[in-house]
Symmetry: C2
Subunit: 190 residues, 2 copies
């Protein structure tokens, strides 16, 4: 698991299988068969035992996370070293706004995968920390006190379930939701 460095170089066949599994799963998702993404079927389709899938990804959420990981990496690259206003260079207030908008777009884009993820346990431990660290850092430049909590409070409403609910059942557009965040951060910036 390449969480930090490379704890253990993966054996060649293992890496090949990981790749094959990801490809199969990605194709099934792309085919619209989301929700019927059974690990059994993924394994069969990839000509691999179920045990292999579990050895590589830990559990269902682990596999979904791997599917999401690609874009997550790009996203983090964007706000850490990319161009303004998301990347460094713009004033903090603008970066905050841009970051939140980008995060919303990102979740909307892969909504079905995020919905598959189930309980936020895995979600919280992974990318969440990175997002929180980044956002809290930006917030601290505008209003030092309580930046930590504020980051949590701003990130919490950006989750697939709530966004889907707001869009599908309350009829809000993504633009309206973004505007809501703008208004919220505006008052904080005070």
């Amino acid at each position: 698991m390449p969480i930090i460095g490379q704890p253990q170089p993966e054996r060649a066949d293992a890496a090949r299988n990981r790749q094959k599994i990801i490809e199969v799963a990605a194709r099934m998702v792309a085919d619209g068969c989301v929700g019927r993404l059974s690990l059994d079927e993924v394994a069969r389709e990839a000509c691999v035992g179920v045990g292999t899938v579990y050895r590589r990804f830990g559990d269902r959420a682990g596999l979904v996370l791997a599917l999401i990981d690609d874009r997550e990496r790009r996203f983090q690259e964007d706000f850490l070293r990319g161009l303004p206003p998301v990347g460094p260079g713009a004033p903090p207030a603008e970066r905050i706004r841009a970051f939140l908008h980008a995060l919303i777009d990102r979740v909307v884009e892969q909504m079905d995968l995020f919905l598959l993820l189930g309980p936020p346990t895995a979600q919280l431990s992974g990318a969440y920390r990175a997002h929180h660290t980044h956002l809290a850092g930006l917030l601290a430049q505008v209003r030092p006190e309580g930046a930590n909590f504020l980051a949590d409070a701003l990130l919490a409403p950006i989750n697939a379930h709530l966004l889907q609910y707001q869009r599908d059942e309350r009829g809000m557009s993504i633009e309206e939701i973004k505007a809501g965040f703008d208004a919220l951060t505006q008052t904080i910036r005070t």
Copy 2:
């Protein structure tokens, strides 16, 4: 499901079984065996077929929701018709503050059950609407524009997973979390 009136008066044996199932499940939860709450075992322990559990509660989340329901009812009673500052009578700003604090306490109190609930799908459809309606109404009295979105944004961070993370892994006390909400609503009240 006594959501509104009584859509269908439940047959006597059915009601008896529902009660028995709830009691057994509540006892298992109280015994600390949370997480191993399998419907199979609940059924066996309650001397009832699995089918009966599913007929009564729909699914796993439904049973957990039923365990939570008692307090939820009391909670709603409190903020709808109870004493100030949570109930009617206090100025809106105070009621908002009191409501958020009370909701946090409520989630913390039954944290293990909320964690069992899994994906927020069921959660969103049930009590969430009531909380949202109430909070949005109060917010509208203070700042009419965007009260709807604001209510979502304030409710989203009050969920078991985030609260547990903040408390256990970030070392925040419940008091600090409440203070965070106070600061947040203070700026909004502007």
